[in-house]
């Protein structure tokens, strides 16, 4: 494959995406049994990481006021909704709390794990397996798995360690390989994406979609939404009822999908797109 070099401006986008943060306050659920009152804990959460990976300090903070026998697997909830740790943090925020006042107020639980809603996450190796599984799936869509299968196990480790330790350069030294494509193709084979909306029964929409049409037309974000979730787009003349949000921003619908996939994907190589109701105020 021929290397596609990124423009200098585009690299800034990669950094902005990587270093996005959400100020969050963690409050202990009031039904938890404590030996004394628990203060809230404040943290800047990385948008591109996962809750169970970055909240060791939260756990330590609350364990100081609890007895060991009252502590089971920690889980998080926002306004009654259990938060799925296997979704990137930024996706959870955009989906549930994007138009609310900061800091994001999350409630912490140590009992009554809702195992009909949430996956268990007993260790960081579970997060690693989930993360690498997403990367593999994304490459199956982009390159029929050829790039990820040509990598050695230490390359896979480098991707994971880069995420775990918040090392942008270490991560992208390897991730750039997953962003290459033959110039004559014009883009990846299929674009890895998932569309989330809270109003739907389905957890997400994920289907095959090419970045370039057979006639050679470049597909845009608008083309993707029209095909996958037309209700998200406004009809002519009507006010916009929904926002199409990626990393907390609304990209123009005319943006080429291939560019979005290369620059606004999460570290798991998926474009996570949130469709949320437009705020009414």
């Amino acid at each position: 494959m021929i290397l596609e070099t990124f423009m200098a401006d585009d690299k800034d986008v990669l950094r902005d995406v990587w270093f996005g943060r959400i100020p969050t306050s963690f409050t202990l659920n009031q039904d938890e049994v404590t030996e004394r009152e628990a203060e809230p804990y404040y943290l800047l959460l990385p948008r591109v990481s996962y809750l169970t990976l970055v909240t060791d300090k939260v756990k330590k903070h609350f364990l100081k006021v609890m007895r060991a026998e009252d502590v089971e697997e920690m889980w998080f909830e926002y306004e009654g909704t259990p938060l799925k740790w296997h979704y990137p943090i930024g996706v959870l925020f955009d989906l549930h709390a994007s138009n609310t006042v900061l800091p994001w107020s999350i409630t912490v639980h140590f009992k009554n794990f809702p195992d009909s809603d949430l996956l268990h996450c007993p260790s960081s190796s579970v997060v690693e397996a989930h993360f690498m599984s997403s990367i593999k799936e994304a490459d199956a869509l982009k390159h029929k798995s050829q790039v990820v299968n040509d990598m050695q196990k230490k390359d896979h480790k480098q991707l994971w360690m880069g995420l775990q330790n918040d090392k942008f350069d270490q991560f992208w030294a390897m991730n750039r390989k997953l962003m290459e494509y033959p110039t004559e193709e014009g883009g990846f084979r299929y674009i890895p994406f998932r569309i989330y909306q809270t109003m739907s029964d389905r957890p997400f929409i994920q289907r095959l979609f090419r970045p370039v049409s057979p006639e050679g037309n470049v597909h845009t974000l608008g083309d993707l939404m029209k095909e996958m979730d037309p209700a998200a787009l406004p009809n002519d003349g009507e006010p916009k009822r929904y926002q199409v949000v990626i990393h907390g921003i609304e990209p123009l619908l005319e943006t080429p999908l291939q560019w979005l996939s290369e620059h606004l994907s999460h570290p798991d190589n998926f474009l996570h797109i949130c469709v949320i109701p437009t705020p009414t105020d």
């Binding site: 697997e73 989930h130 957890p203």
Partner: protein, 315 residues
């Protein structure tokens, strides 16, 4: 893919033979994987390849290569998936095998579903980490799972088996000794869906007691046949894991599909050479189903394939 019933009989017969070979392959590969800290999927393909003794002697590479002329015939597209499901459903109805189709919102999209009751021996005190305390945590690479008969296996000496005589754990040599589990009746629910990322079927399942308590990953592991368990356990990317169901959003166990095309390819090529049509979904199911307790009855092979789909049948 042209549907047909005969190949599944062959597969199931080979599988039975292959289980004994599979055990030997498992322990060798397990020792190798312990030493080299493999995290890739490469070794795990072996447990399925070992079920096809012919293939072990032919140069099948573990890594996926783009032999385009073969790949296109071994890929299952979504339309064919639905056709295969349709045929499997018809045959299931004839055999009273219990499969149903769950559609998504009046669309063509959906999944095959079946529930069964199984009586299994499960051990509730399962994993022992290096500190010796029991927990619900994922097994580390150095720890063994107890087998269905509660006989512990020490990974350092794979050929030594100790009889379990008491309930105490022995921390010093890493051998876990646990009490014999009770036999319980469990309800299993299986879903077959299509993965557009891998162009293969995927098996999702969940298990609960009759009182409605969901089984943990550890309990599910202890009901997997030991031959499969050792191999699957040490390949984190090709194993049973807890995933979000893509249509229902609830936690389900899933058999990772990324190696499906590899073990299906020899089956499909062999069928092509012999001009036999194959029901991809049925053949695939007869391989992966038994790993998680779902048996595919041999009677499927005794049915005439439905006349509607196949055009190469000459009766």
């Amino acid at each position: 893919m042209e549907p047909q019933g005969g190949s599944s009989a062959t597969l199931t017969a080979i599988q039975h033979h292959g289980r004994r070979r599979g055990r030997k392959c498992c322990s060798t590969a397990l020792r190798r994987s312990q030493q080299s800290e493999q995290v890739s999927c490469e070794l795990s393909a072996g447990v399925f390849l070992s079920q096809y003794p012919r293939i072990l002697h032919s140069p099948v590479r573990h890594k996926m290569t783009s032999t385009t002329s073969h790949m296109s015939s071994c890929v299952l597209d979504e339309q064919n998936f639905y056709r295969c499901c349709c045929l499997l459903l018809q045959q299931s109805e004839q055999l009273n095998d219990g499969w149903s189709w769950e559609a998504v919102q009046d669309s063509e999209e959906g999944y095959l579903r079946k529930t069964t009751l199984r009586s299994v021996v499960i051990n509730s005190s399962t994993v022992w980490d290096l500190e010796g305390s029991s927990s619900e945590s994922e097994p580390s690479d150095q720890q063994a799972q107890e087998s269905e008969q509660s006989v512990p296996v020490a990974l350092d000496e794979p050929d030594t088996m100790e009889d379990d005589t008491d309930d105490d754990d022995d921390e010093d040599d890493g051998v876990c000794a646990v009490s014999k589990g009770n036999s319980k009746v469990l309800q299993y629910e299986y879903h077959i869906m299509y993965s557009c990322s891998y162009s293969t079927p995927v098996l999702y399942f969940r298990a609960s007691t009759l009182q409605g308590r969901s089984l943990s990953l550890e309990e599910v592991w202890s009901s997997v046949h030991p031959n499969f368990r050792l191999r699957l356990q040490n390949s984190p990317l090709n194993t049973i894991s807890l995933q979000e169901h893509p249509l229902l959003g609830q936690p389900f166990f899933m058999l990772h599909p990324c190696r499906t095309e590899e073990f299906m390819r020899p089956v499909l090529l062999a069928a092509q050479e012999q001009h036999r049509p194959v029901n991809y979904v049925l053949s695939w199911l007869s391989v992966v189903g038994p790993v998680v307790g779902l048996d595919v009855t041999l009677r499927y092979s005794q049915l005439h394939p439905a006349a509607s789909i196949s055009s190469t049948e000459s009766d």
